[in-house]
């Protein structure tokens, strides 16, 4: 007992110093396991994600800036950017319109088959992209279920940029619906009722009352669908035709370069795309923070 009394001041000084240091990094908690779980999390994250991605940037830097720029600005690469971003943009815009419409119908109306429709919205998340790809190719080919009617009008859907766009619409639709739906669900009707009382018709109250409240979620959904679209590979390649300069997407170009053992070229394009993806991720994070703020203000 005497011994512990003697030790106490030294121990507590040591203890307080530790608490002071940790308090700077994290707030004290009675729960255990912080060190273990954070340690494992950072270790696994580094091993699977951070080190491989950093290695890619280092590899791209090896060749020097001039060859990097030459690799990402070749005419065939520029054409692939145009196809990828153009199709992803058109698909995301179409998805924004239909996504908001679907979310509105699923939240506001009751009709037979509503629950089935709601569940099916997630199909593109669950269906392997290769399956979607071969199915869409078969449907929109000149002799397919839909393609034959388009062919009568002289329109070719599959194996053109239009086919790519349709695949990206399929892939992107759940992003918009699932972002807008919860916001619509939590919205109360007081403002709409007030608008009606003040003499607004339904369209006015939708356009002036509901839509402004939805804007952050709609933009987030659009950005998510667009970001997914520029990276998409599996569902697109079967229906794209993959003609260089015309219907070749960037991910396919990366694979083509790899198959030709042009590792430097593939890496340069990949790093350019990674840069764009990270910028998109940052934008989406900001948009989501905006959505949350708008939610909490209501």
């Amino acid at each position: 007992m005497r011994a512990s009394q003697l030790e106490t001041p030294a121990l507590s000084r040591h203890y307080f110093r530790r608490v002071a240091w940790r308090g700077h990094f994290r707030r004290e908690s009675v729960l255990s396991g912080f060190g273990l779980t954070l340690g494992f999390t950072v270790f696994y994250l580094s091993l699977i994600v951070l080190i491989p991605i950093s290695a890619t940037f280092l590899k791209a830097a090896e060749g020097g800036l001039a060859s990097f720029w030459a690799a990402i600005s070749a005419p065939r690469v520029i054409a692939a950017y145009r196809v990828t971003f153009g199709c992803a943009l058109v698909a995301a815009l179409i998805n924004t319109v239909f996504g908001v419409l679907l979310a509105w119908v699923l939240v506001r109306y009751r009709f037979p088959g509503r629950r089935l429709c709601d569940a099916l919205i997630d199909l593109p998340f669950a269906l392997p992209t290769a399956v979607a790809g071969i199915a869409l190719a078969a449907i929109y080919a000149p002799k397919g279920w839909v393609g034959q009617y388009a062919a009568e009008w002289g329109v070719k859907i599959a194996f053109t940029p239009m086919g790519i766009t349709i695949a990206l619409i399929f892939i992107g639709i759940p992003f918009v619906v699932r972002t807008v739906q919860p916001v619509l669900e939590s919205m109360d009707f007081a403002c709409e009722e007030a608008a009606t009382t003040l003499g607004a018709n339904r369209w006015q109250s939708f356009r002036l009352v509901v839509l402004p409240a939805l804007i952050p979620a709609v933009l987030t959904g659009f950005a998510l669908a667009f970001a997914r679209g520029i990276g998409e590979y599996g569902s697109v390649i079967f229906v794209a035709g993959n003609m260089p300069m015309v219907s070749e997407i960037v991910p396919l170009l990366i694979i083509t370069k790899l198959e030709q053992y042009d590792y430097a070229g593939a890496t340069a394009i990949a790093v350019a795309m990674l840069g764009i993806s990270f910028a998109m991720l940052l934008t989406i994070n900001l948009l989501q923070a905006w959505t949350r703020r708008a939610e909490s203000q209501r």
Partner: protein, 279 residues
């Protein structure tokens, strides 16, 4: 969630009819039609041909590899997800927002690039290529590469589902258990886990669907060696490119079954979780 819509916020029957028709048309054309096509193409030539395509040796090998990759990637990411959610949701520390963003990274990366990064590490011309060859180890164009790529693309799934749920639940219950003398493990098993089991299951199911269905990333690292490094989605591609349409759609129907099972389980879990108010 069903709320009564007041009459002033109701659309006219005409508007409602038109919008519902457009919605059903979109769902029918974009979502149901592809599923119908896979089924008719797979079964259109009779059930025996369908079964033969599934019994094919290469298809069986592809199925085994797909199951193997998922059996490694899903538990690994489950362990990571629980661990990440525990430190992020139950503690306050600096750099948390950065950690959250980094966990999301794999979602932002194109599948093809997800495969490429491992080729650049472990491929013949990669950082560890020489060393691996000297030790007669193979990662790229072999099973370990497929497992790694699968782990990368499914990395955030469980963590993303768990973190918001655990954050919403706060730390009161765990703190009470600890104060009453429970150890860290006891607190986790008896207090936290029962609270998060639906979210956990939800994350695992989505993670599994992506792990079994991944195409782009696996395609880059696989090398497409039949019977050895071919997963089910890659096998679909090979058959399709060889104009073995019936076989391709037969194998594709297996993957579609996976998607349907995933959606059904998801709906069941959402209903269960709504009863408990936890998801």
């Amino acid at each position: 969630m069903i709320k009564a819509v007041p009459s002033s916020a109701q659309d006219s029957p005409l508007v409602r009819g038109v919008l519902i028709t457009i919605a059903l048309g979109f769902v029918g054309l974009m979502l149901i039609l592809p599923m119908g096509l896979v089924l008719t193409q797979a079964l259109g030539h009779g059930f025996t041909i369908y079964l033969d395509a599934l019994r094919d040796e290469d298809a069986q090998a592809a199925l085994r590899l797909t199951l193997l990759a998922a059996a490694i990637a899903v538990p690994a990411n489950l362990l990571f997800g629980v661990s990440a959610a525990w430190c992020i949701a139950k503690f306050e520390f600096k750099g948390k927002q950065l950690l959250l963003t980094l966990i999301d990274l794999p979602f932002a990366v194109s599948p093809v690039i997800s495969g490429l990064i491992f080729v650049l590490l472990f491929g013949l011309h990669g950082w560890f290529g020489e060393w691996l060859r000297a030790h007669d180890l193979k990662i790229i164009f072999a099973v370990p590469g497929i497992v790694l790529a699968t782990m990368f693309v499914t990395f955030p799934f469980v963590a993303r589902e768990l973190i918001p749920v655990m954050q919403a639940q706060g730390t009161d219950e765990e703190e009470a258990a600890t104060t009453l003398g429970a150890s860290g493990w006891q607190t986790f098993w008896r207090v936290t886990l029962p609270n998060i089991k639906w979210a956990l299951l939800y994350g695992v199911i989505l993670c599994n669907a992506r792990a079994m269905g991944e195409f782009g990333a696996v395609s880059v690292v696989s090398g497409h060696i039949r019977g050895l490094t071919n997963t089910l989605p890659l096998h679909v591609e090979i058959l399709y490119n060889e104009y073995q349409t019936v076989a391709a759609f037969s194998v594709a129907s297996l993957l579609m079954l996976l998607a349907v099972v995933t959606l059904v389980l998801k709906a069941v879990i959402e209903a269960k979780a709504a009863d408990f108010g936890r998801l």
